[in-house]
Symmetry: C2
Subunit: 153 residues, 2 copies
C-alpha cells in the first residue's frame, strides 16, 4: 500500500497514529489491557492473521507500548504486557468507547460497562481541563502554535 508515514509530521495526532493507527493495533491494545497476554489467545480472540499480529506486536514493542516478557525459557515463550506508555494509551480507548457507546451502540446498549474503583459506580469518562477542572471539549478551546511547531522552514 506504500502507506504514508505519519510519524514525521509536526502533529501529535499524526504521531500518535503512527504508533497505533494501523488496523488492529487498538484492538490488540484493548485485549492486552483486558488480560490477554499471549500470541495464541490474541490471535484466536481477534480472528486476525497471525502474520499481521506478529508484525503489530513487534511494532508495539519497538515503540515501547508493550513489553515482551519471557514467562518460560525452554520452550522460549513470551507474553506481552503494557508499559506505562501503553497504559496511558488505554485512556484513549476509554474515550473511543465513550463515543462508540453514544453513537454506535443503538438499541442494544453498550456492550461493556465500566465501574470506577474510586466511587464504585458504573460511569464513563469525561474530559476536563487540567488547569480549572471544568469540562473541556474540542469546541471550548483555541489553538496556538507551540514550541515544536515547525522545526524546518
Amino acid at each position: 500500500m506504500q502507506r504514508t508515514q505519519f510519524g514525521a509530521m509536526a502533529c501529535s495526532i499524526a504521531r500518535t497514529l503512527d504508533v497505533i493507527g494501523e488496523p488492529w493495533s487498538p484492538l490488540i491494545l484493548r485485549d492486552v489491557y483486558a488480560g490477554t497476554h499471549r500470541f495464541e489467545q490474541l490471535q484466536r480472540g481477534l480472528g486476525m492473521s497471525r502474520k499481521v499480529l506478529a508484525e503489530r506486536l513487534n511494532w508495539l514493542v519497538e515503540q515501547g507500548v508493550l513489553a515482551r516478557r519471557e514467562y518460560s525459557a525452554r520452550p522460549v515463550r513470551h507474553e506481552y504486557l503494557l508499559t506505562d506508555k501503553g497504559r496511558e494509551l488505554c485512556d484513549l480507548l476509554l474515550v473511543m468507547v465513550r463515543w462508540g457507546d453514544r453513537w454506535t451502540a443503538g438499541e442494544a446498549g453498550p456492550p461493556v460497562l465500566y465501574r470506577h474503583h474510586a466511587c464504585g459506580r458504573i460511569s464513563h469518562v469525561e474530559l476536563r481541563c487540567s488547569e480549572c477542572e471544568q469540562p473541556m471539549r474540542a469546541t471550548d478551546i483555541d489553538l496556538l502554535p507551540g514550541p515544536g511547531a515547525h522545526p524546518t522552514s
Copy 2:
C-alpha cells in the same frame, strides 16, 4: 487488502474504528475541525491522494460525522462541516494530542498549544469519572458485561 470490517463487532472501540479507523480519517477530521472545509484545501494541506480523500469524505458524510453543504450552486461546490457527532469525535483527537505530546513530542515540545475558553489558560485534557469527578484512568476501572454484550450466541 480485503480489510476486516470492525463495525459488526460487539465492541464500541471496534465500531468507533470502523468510522474513523482508516488511514487519514483522523487527520481529515483534525483539519475540518481546525477550519479547513474544502476539498482542495484539505488535499493540499494533507498531501494525500485526491482519490482517497474523496472516498474518506464520502464515508464520513455517510456516517454522519461530516455534513456536505452547498456553498455555491453553479458551479456546484460543497464544503464539509462537522456535525454534533463529528464534534464529539474531536474530543478523541484531544486525547490523542495529549498522549502524543507526552510521549512523542521530544525535545522540541508540543507543536500546538490549547487555550481553554473557560479559564483562558494553556492546558490539556484530563479524564475524569462522570459520576464522582475524580480522575479516571484505564487502570482505575473494572469491566463488566453490558446490555449489548452478545446479541448472537
